[in-house]
């Protein structure tokens, strides 16, 4: 199917191009939003509460805040063009470096959470769809409702209370790895993978233990939409004419449910999984805070609270780009999974 693949690539490229204006819009909008928000960063970063007016003026000049907003925007855009996202006043490091250090932590957490969510949600949805209106169906619905009702920080705290405080199974919720374990050489930035590549299985187990609780508390929150959409599209699939055809020639139950119904039902789940992933990346700040996870979202929140413009703008740009990228991946997956897409 070379033509199909080629068509998919062309579509992907076109999609990427068409997202550029949106990315630019996000850039400008965030920039303006930050200028409108109350709080003067110069005052915030001055040496102390009783810093003199001259000192504040000096800092303002250093930061370029004395210029007009359009001028600032032009400077900002030209910086972005050179790959410079500015410098964080909080950490004193270039924003790009900060984000590069923290992004893998966020991504690892989100990927794991999404994987857990999908592994749980798809079978739940399928089981619910096979027996609509049964006890199982209602059980799945209740579980999903609970998952959505309980905010992630509450479920996170509950998980810590049970597995760390009561049972002592989980390590202390203090980031990606406990202080005594030596870090593996950095290759992917994903600790669980880096440990494996370094052949350090003890370290890998330690990293996984740290990862599991925050990932589960995030996953709990998104199981609901994924399971519901799986159930709904599975119901449509099971009621469709082609499943009836499959039954009419006596295909085995497994073949009817998995090969005929589920493969068709999974298509909308792919789309929703993409949206869920993008949302999780930005929304996992609560989990990151509860588990002291050194991710980008908590970094951006800290920066926002201290009126540190550059990291917030960098973060939003990063999220927007990731969103575009994730959609692109979803699009490609969809194109491969559904032969009908490529002809449109």
């Amino acid at each position: 199917m070379t033509t199909g693949l080629g068509a998919t690539m062309v579509r992907a490229g076109r999609r990427l191009l068409s997202s550029l204006p949106a990315l630019f819009g996000v850039l400008v909008f965030t920039f303006l939003l930050m200028r409108v928000l109350p709080g003067d960063p110069a005052v915030f970063f001055a040496s102390g509460p009783n810093a003199g007016k001259e000192e504040i003026e000096l800092i303002r000049k250093q930061m370029g805040l004395d210029k007009s907003v359009p001028e600032q925007l032009v400077f900002y855009l030209s910086d972005i063009g050179h790959g410079n996202l500015g410098r964080s006043m909080m950490t004193g490091q270039p924003v790009l470096k900060d984000l590069r250090e923290r992004l893998p932590a966020s991504l690892e957490l989100t990927f794991t959470a999404l994987l857990i969510a999908l592994i749980a949600a798809v079978p739940l949805g399928v089981i619910a769809a096979l027996r609509p209106g049964s006890v199982v169906d209602h059980g799945v619905r209740l579980f999903c409702a609970l998952g959505v009702c309980v905010p992630t920080f509450v479920s996170g705290l509950l998980l810590i209370y049970v597995f760390y405080y009561l049972l002592g199974l989980a390590p202390d919720p203090t980031g990606r790895i406990d202080v005594f374990t030596s870090l593996p050489p950095q290759r992917t930035g994903f600790l669980s993978i880096d440990f494996l590549l370094a052949g350090d299985f003890e370290g890998w187990w330690a990293a996984c233990k740290q990862l599991i609780l925050p990932a589960v508390s995030m996953a709990l929150f998104v199981i609901a939409p994924l399971a519901r959409i799986t159930r709904a599209s599975m119901l449509v699939s099971l009621g469709s004419d082609f499943v009836r055809t499959a039954r009419s020639v006596g295909l085995s139950w497994r073949k009817v449910v998995v090969t005929y119904a589920l493969r068709n039902a999974i298509l909308p789940v792919i789309t929703i999984a993409g949206i869920v992933f993008s949302t999780m990346l930005g929304a996992n700040v609560l989990v990151e805070k509860v588990f002291s996870w050194p991710g980008v979202a908590s970094y951006a929140l800290d920066a926002l609270l201290s009126s540190d413009y550059a990291p917030v703008q960098g973060f939003v740009l990063l999220m927007a780009s990731l969103f575009v990228l994730v959609n692109l991946v979803v699009d490609i997956c969809y194109g491969i999974a559904d032969p009908r897409v490529s002809i449109e």
Binding site: D241, F242, R244, T245, S248, V249, G250, N264, L267, D338
Partner: protein, 556 residues
Amino acid sequence: MSEELLRIEDLQVSFSTRRGMVEAVRGVTLSVGKGEMLGLVGESGSGKSVTGFATTRLLDAAGRVTGGRILFRGQDVTKLRGDDLRHLQGAAMSMIFQNPRAALNPIRAIGLQIADAILTHKRISKDAARAEALDLLRAVQIRDPEARMNAYPHELSGGMCQRVMIAIAISCNPALLIADEPTTGLDVTTQKVVMDLLADIAAARGMATILITHDLGLAARYCRRIAVMERGRIVEEASPRTLFSTPQHAYTRRLVAASPTATSRIEDLVTEEERERYATVVSKPRQEPAHGTPPLLEVRKLAKRFDQGSAAVADFSMTMAGGESVGLVGESGSGKSTTSRMICRLIDPSEGDIVFDGQSIGHVASRDFHRSRFRKDIQMVFQDPNESLNPRYTAFDCIAHPLMRLDGMCVGDALRKRVEECAERVGLPLDLLPRFPHQLSGGQKARVGIARAIACRPRLLVLDEPTAALDVSVQAVVLQLLDRLRRENDIALLFVSHDLNVVRMLCDRTIVLRNGGIVEQGESRALFDNPKTDYTRKLVEAIPHIETGAALAAAL
């Protein structure tokens, strides 16, 4: 009759719905011999499909066999469980469905789908199954079968998909084939090819076939024995010849009368008592328009291209006088719907002009045409009465809406009177006006659609397959209604249809379209009786005729 294969005894099927149990099949008794082709004919809701599904054990979860037996080779099918059932399905009996494209898995190559069916019942290797699948594609006469093995359903035409479906159904040489409306929704020519193929295959392999259809003509052409169903019961069972010459049951008589044939006239379609009002209208001679009257509609060299592709319609010209009825026929993809939509000014032509009542309207953009004073003169009746009514509007609102938008009427007694008058003209009982579309039957919805179209007293009515979704008895009434409206109000009708028998009855002139161009046109009866081009002849020959009297006697 030859040896008995299937025997249905007093079958009863009920569906549990929100309003309690509904009896769909109420005591059907049938038998099918080996290699026999039996026609099961009835209108929607008669329980014919449910009987088929009960036999193949494909009833959906809400449906249940509540009584009777289905004996297949002496074994009661309704009591089979698990593996026994699976060995029956596909291997001993299989089914062909309506809407072939939806009946195939959209994301699985058709070769694999056929192989799936083979592998379920035969212990052979995947390669061997693939080879058999290829043979089956050849057997159902698919061109270039090697390449088609990897094709997906959306890449094939409806007729092709139905052939693939037949290939799947016959893959394990079942003894009984149940074909549920196998050609509904296909073009007449495709219908003939597919049905001929099906009949040949069934004969060659000695398969018994039950042909479930709403089309009496189709059943008469292919079956030696026809059972007529009405409201869950079999009301009559006979050979086609007896059925048409001397129908016993009142329902069969109505059905036979309503089925349009090559010679039937609109006034013949319904039984005596329904005919009265119509007859008085028909008896009045039509007033010929004065000589030299300009045509109502003149279409000049109309063309439509979509997205730089080849033309969907090219060089289409026609004229229509006031009160004239013109039929536009052709297979799907011939451009008849596109043409009718351009004339209605719902889409813009790429080239050419449309002149209505002496004024050019072809260049008014379609999205601005609702402001034109001609909008209310050109109205449309759409194909699907279910889809073309706003589900949140009552029948009253549906009819009142164009009056308010186009005639500037306001809510009040005058509006109510006009709506009621329209409803009366189309024969819609006034007490149905406050109902929502889902509370109306198909025929009633069709009436609402027509009442809405004639509400503003248009001079040209464009009808896009207005009866395609209706049962024949309802179609008969709707056709009479349209013809009566034309005669009473002098409305010109542009009638788009694939059903040549209907066009022949209703239209003075007919235009045959193919691939966006006019193939032939002329006075309807002459055109159908003596087609000048091969294409028209093929179309005419493909219609399943109900042959009466001598012709039928000769055939048997």
